[in-house]
């Protein structure tokens, strides 16, 4: 076998693991070409519903959305064919229930349109159909003309509970009859080491929503690698100082169970010469990576910047299956991807800041929010193209495998985690059949 002589490796900006690449540091990932059939197959999507979305812990909101007794919101989990109610009860606990009346199965909580999510505060839930009432603990409290029923056991007819746990103010539900792991076990050390991060201080929210014509994983992929940034988002750098052909190297990658994270590092945009910023960024002191200065946060948890990158830029945590938390300097971004079919999904994005104290600070947040949207639209615009081209690659062009580089290790890991969960589910199914 002849030995391939490599050119001397270009010096890397950031140190790499001893294996030489991030991907080889996690040997179970392999380095081969990858199939994205999981993003074009309706059959695979049906498996994901059962294997992932009915088994994993899913973040549906934050505790700030249920601030007091009786505060509630509903969430449509189309992917699991479920609608749920999340509500704070009289003891201060956050509970979740299937949004289904126990009488004849009407959808219990909705406002104007049954398919639309809603929120509010109430003392009890009253079914619009025949007026049955349920307490905040889900108990059936009142039945219209109870004496007309036959052996009605009200104690047995409370709302059907959904497993619900809170981590760091993030409300998670699990639709499994018996979740295989507690929420903390599921999240694992890489994520729970963020314990103590002051997410609760960042209550000024800019929320976005979009329906995208692409598989849910493809959009997540676009946000878990920075390899595409110089290509797709060349305008992030003013044209006068753009270096054609310049790449982007991430500072640190890490995976833990089904979850993953990536850190960026490097000089902060505003510490560079002024021509590296757009005029609007200079005048508002805010921009692509948010406000230049945010109120101090005090000591930060050990899980932040786990690679101890200096200068540190952004931590981007992807919590399996469908949530992403991007921690910037003093604020964070939250994304969720909710599949609606094998080639469409609903995207939710939230920018969360410490509340502005002055008009200037509010404008800083507005700028960050506007810039975020501009570049997210580029990612989203790309997706329809990726989805349709991948579908034709599989169905027409005979292309089934694609190369994935070391900067894209999280993409590789994500699709593998999805495949692993589907495999476990298939295995469990086979085991059940055999019995």
């Amino acid at each position: 076998m002849s030995k391939v002589v490599h050119e001397p490796a270009t010096p890397h900006r950031w140190p790499r693991p001893p294996e030489g690449t991030w991907t080889q540091h996690y040997p179970e990932l392999g380095t081969s070409m990858m199939s994205f059939e999981d993003s074009v197959s309706p059959e695979f999507f049906e498996l994901e519903r059962e294997a992932i979305f009915k088994r994993a812990w899913l973040n549906v909101g934050r505790v700030e959305q249920v601030p007091k007794t009786g505060s509630y919101f509903t969430k449509e989990l189309d992917v699991a064919r479920a609608s749920i109610i999340v509500v704070r009860d009289r003891d201060g606990a956050v509970n979740a229930f299937h949004n289904v009346c126990r009488h004849r199965g009407n959808k219990l909580v909705w406002n104007e349109f049954p398919r639309a999510e809603t929120s509010g505060t109430c003392r009890q839930f009253t079914c619009k159909y025949h007026g049955w009432r349920y307490g905040l603990d889900g108990g059936l409290n009142f039945v219209q003309q109870e004496a007309e029923f036959f052996d009605l056991d009200k104690a047995e007819l409370g709302l059907s509970p959904v497993h619900c746990e809170v981590w760091a103010g993030f409300i998670f539900v699990n639709l499994d009859a018996t979740p295989r792991q507690t929420l903390r076990e599921f999240l694992g050390p890489m994520i729970t080491d963020l314990d103590g991060y002051p997410f609760d201080k960042m209550t000024e929210w800019y929320e976005f929503s979009a329906d995208n014509q692409s598989n849910w994983k493809l959009f997540a992929d676009a946000f878990q690698e920075y390899y595409h940034v110089p290509g797709l988002h060349s305008q992030q750098v003013p044209s006068a100082v753009r270096t054609p052909g310049k790449g982007f190297e991430c500072a640190h990658f890490q995976v833990d169970g089904p979850h993953r994270m990536v850190s960026t590092g490097g000089a902060r945009r505003w510490t560079m010469p002024p021509e590296f910023m757009y005029p609007i960024e200079r005048v508002t002191r805010s921009g692509l990576v948010g406000p230049w200065e945010s109120p101090e946060l005090g000591e930060l948890p050990k899980g932040l910047n786990p690679g101890r990158i200096e200068p540190w830029g952004i931590d981007n945590f992807q919590i399996f299956p469908n949530i992403e938390i991007l921690i910037y300097h003093g604020w964070y971004l939250l994304y969720r991807y909710w599949p609606t079919s094998y080639n469409s999904h609903r995207f939710e994005g939230m920018l969360c800041f410490q509340p502005a104290r002055t008009v200037r600070e509010r404008v800083e947040h507005e700028v960050a929010s506007v810039v975020f949207k501009e570049f997210a639209l580029q990612d989203a615009g790309m997706l329809t193209g990726t989805q349709t081209a991948l579908e034709s690659a599989y169905r027409t062009a005979g292309l089934t495998e694609f190369p994935v580089n070391d900067q894209e290790i999280l993409v590789r890991h994500f699709h593998k985690a999805v495949a692993d969960w589907v495999d476990v589910y298939r295995h469990d199914l086979a085991g059940t059949d055999a019995r």
């Binding site: 976005f208 757009y278 005029p279 005048v283 995207f347």
Partner: protein, 111 residues
């Protein structure tokens, strides 16, 4: 006497007020997409030099107690931010390569 929207010190921007003092991001984004580039540039050229003054003016009031004309001025600043994306970054009203993508802002703080 015609009704003015902006504080008297910003009379020079009054001609943009009706078009650009818009309450929501969706309205500002839609207005940008629907505007010829030259109009965006005119608005930007007139407004950008006044941003510092506008922020200084608004910051004389507590954020939660801005008088109506200062809120209008703030909305004009928000519109400038929106328009700056087109003028400074993309040289066209729509983000380059955004195809048919849409992203609706469904919640934001006031004002």
């Amino acid at each position: 006497m015609t009704q003015t929207m902006l504080p008297p010190a910003f009379a020079d921007l009054e001609r943009f007020a009706l078009t650009w003092c818009l309450k929501t991001e969706s309205e500002r984004y839609a207005r940008r997409l629907a505007s010829p580039m030259q109009e965006l540039i005119d608005f930007y050229d007139a407004c950008f030099p006044r941003v510092e003054d506008a922020l200084a003016y608004c910051d004389k009031f507590p954020l939660e107690e801005l008088p109506e004309d200062a809120i209008h001025l703030l909305h004009l600043v928000y519109s400038l931010v929106m328009v700056a994306m087109a003028v400074e970054i993309f040289q066209q009203p729509k983000p380059v390569d955004s195809a048919d993508a849409e992203l609706a802002r469904v919640c934001a703080p006031w004002p």
